[in-house]
């Protein structure tokens, strides 16, 4: 199996994602430059966090038009596994690969801290090794992670079990008191109806080693490997 981490100008979690995939999980991983136009031969594509194109105009709005995104959309439409983390999630909503939008945190401040997430649906490639209701501890670091969508979209997300993680407390209680950014229904991450595209604001790649405070990001990468029928080397 082979993974690609897309590098936009201004991506800054690209090296962290590369490290997690290649060194923690032993997945051969390439960087793919935003000016490239092919994603042939990859089993997993990651849109990393950062400030693509400086997040000018709107987070992820310019990245959507970069040459590689045509290949990314094509790859996703053919069922390829695609995960967008933080700024990558913003790029996914801007590209309409995922519904809804991410707007400024309700506090208007950038927020960086560990947060608890309650796992929703697990019948997907990204959380198949997790238990429904399991609580994960992952860091967030964003200024615009406030997920919003219209009522019809929200109902559809719920009906199709597309809400994969929500902000909660240590016991898994989902309520507004544990919502860091004002996200609709505490949504932290969703997948598309075809279940091959996953976008989330928290950073699983920052939670892959006990020495950094949490290994709860592992279940996401291991689920992907499990789905692809590959066992992690590391």
């Amino acid at each position: 199996m082979k993974a690609a981490v897309i590098r936009f100008p201004g991506s800054n979690c690209d090296q962290d994602c590369h490290y997690a995939l290649q060194h923690v999980f032993g997945i051969p991983t390439d960087y793919v430059w935003h000016k490239d136009s092919s994603l042939k031969g990859y089993d997993l594509v990651v849109l990393p966090g950062g400030f693509s194109y400086g997040d000018y105009l709107r987070c992820g709005a310019i990245a959507r038009f970069s040459p590689i995104m045509k290949a990314v959309v094509d790859y996703a439409n053919h069922g390829g596994l695609l995960i967008g983390i933080c700024n990558g999630f913003q790029v996914l909503t801007e590209s309409r690969l995922l519904p809804g939008a991410l707007v400024r945190n309700r506090s208007l401040h950038f927020i960086c801290e560990h947060r608890f997430l309650r796992v929703g649906a697990t019948d997907n490639p990204f959380l198949n090794l997790a238990q429904p209701g399991q609580v994960l501890n992952l860091p967030i670091a964003h200024g615009e992670g406030n997920y919003t969508a219209d009522q019809a979209t929200l109902e559809e997300l719920n009906a199709n079990r597309q809400i994969l993680v929500r902000y909660c407390d240590a016991q898994g209680v989902v309520s507004d008191a544990f919502n860091p950014n004002g996200s609709l229904n505490n949504i932290a991450g969703i997948c598309n109806a075809d279940r091959n595209v996953f976008g989330l604001m928290p950073h699983p790649e920052r939670a892959c080693e006990a020495r950094l405070g949490s290994e709860d990001g592992n279940v996401i990468f291991q689920s992907i490997l499990n789905h692809l029928g590959v066992r992690a080397v590391a």
């Binding site: 800054n12 979690c13 400030f51 950038f110 927020i111 950094l212």
Partner: protein, 749 residues
């Protein structure tokens, strides 16, 4: 000396008033005439004024800075040699780090002032060929509690500075993992914004800022030059006044996205063999980078301003040379390798231009097409600014306190915890991405930040410290304490100190009391650095920090970096498990001078500040590290502002899960306020599993460090007994005071 530099038709006439406006004294002007063998033109006058400003030349502080220890077996690049010093950390890896101030710009425009400060220090680090891996900052503002107009201004400055640092650091993707924030009247109107960056590199990757190789082309890369930040270095080298607000053009505007591209492009270029020399354009922009590279290379540099990328039309040579537009670099390219620069900068969509050539005549020559508009001997301009030894006048020695005021201790402790200087800084560090780059092992809020640099597989600990109240009362002792506290913070994390960078923030050096403070502090820092074997690798001097009420408290900020050889030795400040033994390493202490108890509860900055004995201090650190090395220490927290009581509370509540403690000091014979709130140095509170308590006590005493068991970690209460009295607090109440204080202040804004 030839006299080819012409005056331009639009140049104003050089008059004594114009010279004075450039901050150049009549004697300095005479020296300029002598160096040139003629009158300078307007452009040249501007060039001299920025290069001979304190910010660029250190003309008022150089003789003092020579007192710092700067050598040692681990020093790869010495202070002052290059943009930042480099220290060996083993296995062929080095670290480059430095601290720099952006005080004046932040006073005028807090967001951009602080943001560009971060941008500047990051450029200093990657100019060395190092990949920046983390940032710290040391900030000081006026008081933020209350609702006076000045308090609102202080909150605006605080909030703007934090947002500016967050904006730049978060976007460029370098974690801001620690630092310090203090609030004190003396910084009203003149906040201090000291920013620190550390990068890693292999020994053979160290890049030099010298213009080597006659005939090599000189490239300009990065953002276009605009009119922003005109003569910022000169602006930073005078006092802030009411009129300073009109100096807003002297504040630069930062673009972290562009710097991220510049950083990646430069590091990529430095892996090739195309670079003969590289220098960032920071203070004094194109002026400083051309004359400094020529001076270091023993060469000359000739540039043509027509070729410089500009974002505005009609800029004069004076404006181009003095612009401090951000995100620009000067690169001396090996002749014949120009295509490599072009390929890499085109890949990153960054402007670049060949603007000049290295010459053998020692001159910095600036042309516009065929017309020479400035021609100055580079070495004299860059390195031979006049040096001054200013007059000193000692301030009166601090007076010993005769009586310590009493108080209701039950309410005094929560009040101290809620003081913004002591309270949790989570409102600040939550706004900084402190986890990007996947290396933050100890999150902000412990004694020092601990970061594993994956590239090098090295665990580094880093802290910045300075108690300016002590420095105001006794500058020498205060500076000594700053170094000792930094080393103690590192020891509490399990680290061995390696080296120091400093940021000397003082008032106008022409006032003899201010200059005396500078000298005393430098000598105090030097004593401390010698005591802990930590050479000074560089830093920054910021003078003229004044407001209408006078100079700031002298603030020699110490940034110290250490190394932790074994991952298992990384130690945090907070208690881990109920039932663990709480042990005080060091004495109970009794020094109340300069204490936060007096300042916060009684508004008094008085007394003789605590004295530090370096022999005892070193012994304490060695003892602690030995205990940590044996796996006997579960937490270690240094005793500082607010004394033992605050240290104990922080040990209880800093962790993920708040704990309590039952503490019994026995019979001490001390006034309770003195026992709980004195700030004597050389003390650390540790916790250990109950089974190891006696071993820890025995080993500490054996190595000559006083040690006593003072209590046991519990769950929901802090109970302190001494001399027959007992006071109890609910941990949740204390935690709320401490954790939420700054947010509460800021939501009133």
């Amino acid at each position: 000396m030839n006299t080819t530099a012409v005056s331009l038709p639009q140049d104003p006439e050089i008059t004594p008033a114009l010279i004075a406006k450039h901050g150049i004294t009549p004697d300095e002007y005479a020296l300029i005439q002598k160096i040139l063998g003629r009158e300078p033109n307007f452009t040249e006058l501007g060039i001299f004024s920025v290069m001979w400003s304190e910010h660029c030349s250190y003309k008022n502080s150089k003789p003092e800075l020579r007192k710092f220890p700067t050598t040692g077996p681990t020093v790869l690049v010495k202070a002052g040699e290059e943009n930042a010093g480099v220290i060996d950390v083993g296995d062929g890896w080095g670290i480059a780090f430095k601290m720099e101030s952006h005080n004046h710009p932040s006073a005028i425009e807090p967001f951009q002032g602080a943001a560009t400060g971060v941008g500047g220090i990051i450029r200093d680090i990657f100019t060395m060929g190092a990949r920046p891996v983390f940032n710290l900052n040391s900030l000081r503002f006026g008081q933020i509690t209350g609702d006076g107009a000045n308090v609102k201004t202080n909150r605006r400055l605080f909030s703007g500075v934090v947002a500016g640092i967050a904006h730049y650091g978060n976007c460029i993707g370098i974690p801001t993992i620690g630092g310090e924030v203090y609030f004190d009247e003396s910084y009203e109107g003149n906040p201090l914004v000291n920013v620190f960056c550390l990068g890693v590199l292999k020994h053979e990757e160290i890049a030099r800022g010298a213009a080597k190789g006659i005939g090599n082309p000189v490239f300009y890369v990065g953002a276009e030059t605009g009119r922003d930040g005109l003569a910022g270095a000169a602006f930073a080298s005078r006092e802030l006044t009411e009129e300073s607000k009109q100096d807003r053009p002297a504040v630069q505007v930062g673009d972290p996205f562009k710097e991220k591209l510049l950083l990646e492009a430069c590091l990529e270029l430095l892996t090739t063999d195309a670079v003969a020399g590289i220098q960032d354009m920071g203070a004094a922009g194109l002026t400083c980078s051309t004359c400094e590279t020529a001076s270091r290379g023993g060469t000359g540099v000739e540039i043509d301003l027509e070729k410089v990328p500009k974002r505005e039309v009609g800029m004069t040579p004076y404006e181009i040379m003095l612009s401090e537009s951000q995100e620009r670099m000067l690169i001396i390219v090996e002749k014949g390798k120009e295509h490599i620069v072009k390929e890499i900068f085109e890949k990153w969509d960054l402007p670049y231009a060949e603007v000049g050539v290295v010459k053998d005549d020692g001159m910095m020559r600036v042309k516009v097409g065929n017309v020479t508009v400035a021609e100055i001997p580079a070495r004299q301009l860059a390195d031979e600014a006049p040096i001054y030894s200013r007059e000193t006048q000692a301030k009166p020695a601090p007076v010993a306190l005769t009586k310590i005021p009493t108080t209701d201790i039950a309410t005094a402790l929560p009040r101290l915890l809620a003081d913004p200087s002591i309270a949790s800084k989570n409102w600040v560090y939550r706004q900084y991405d402190h986890m990007v780059r996947d290396g933050t092992m100890v999150l902000p809020g412990s004694d020092s930040a601990v970061f594993i640099v994956r590239e090098a597989n090295k665990i580094l600990a880093s802290t910045s410290d300075c108690n300016a109240i002590y420095c105001a009362l006794d500058p020498r002792e205060g500076a000594r304490v700053a170094v000792a506290e930094a080393a103690r913070n590192l020891a509490c994390s399990g680290a061995v100190p390696l080296a120091v960078t400093d940021n000397l923030n003082f008032g106008n050096p022409h006032k003899p009391e201010n200059f005396w403070q500078l000298r005393e502090c430098v000598e105090g820092l030097a004593e401390g650095c010698n005591a802990f074997n930590t050479p000074v690798t560089g830093g920054n001097v910021s003078l003229y920090n004044e407001n209408p009420a006078g100079a700031i408290d002298p603030t020699p900020t110490v940034g110290m970096v250490g190394i932790i050889e074994n991952e298992a030795h990384v130690t945090t400040s907070f208690f881990k498990d109920a039932g663990d033994a709480v042990i005080l390493l060091g004495e109970l202490g009794d020094e109340m001078g300069g204490s936060h108890y007096l300042k916060v509860l009684f508004g008094r900055k008085e007394g003789i500040p605590p004295h530090v004995d370096f022999t005892k201090e070193r012994a304490l650190h060695d003892t602690l590290r030995a205990l940590i090395g044996k796996g006997l220490v579960k937490s270690a927290h240094d005793c500082a502002e607010g004394g033992l009581a605050v240290t104990l509370v922080e040990s209880c509540i800093c962790g993920k899960k708040a704990l309590g403690a039952d503490v019994d000091f026995g019979a001490t014979g001390l006034q309770p306020e003195v026992l709980l709130f004195n700030e004597s140095q050389t003390r650390i509170v540790i916790s250990t599993s109950p089974a190891n308590a006696d071993i820890v006590l025995a080993q500490a005493r054996e190595s000559g460090t006083p040690a006593r068991r003072i209590g046991t970690v519990s769950s929901t209460q802090l109970a302190i007994k001494a001399d027959g009295n007992e006071i109890r607090w609910k941990i949740d109440d204390l935690s709320d005071e401490w954790y939420g204080s700054i947010s509460r202040c800021m939501s009133e804004a």
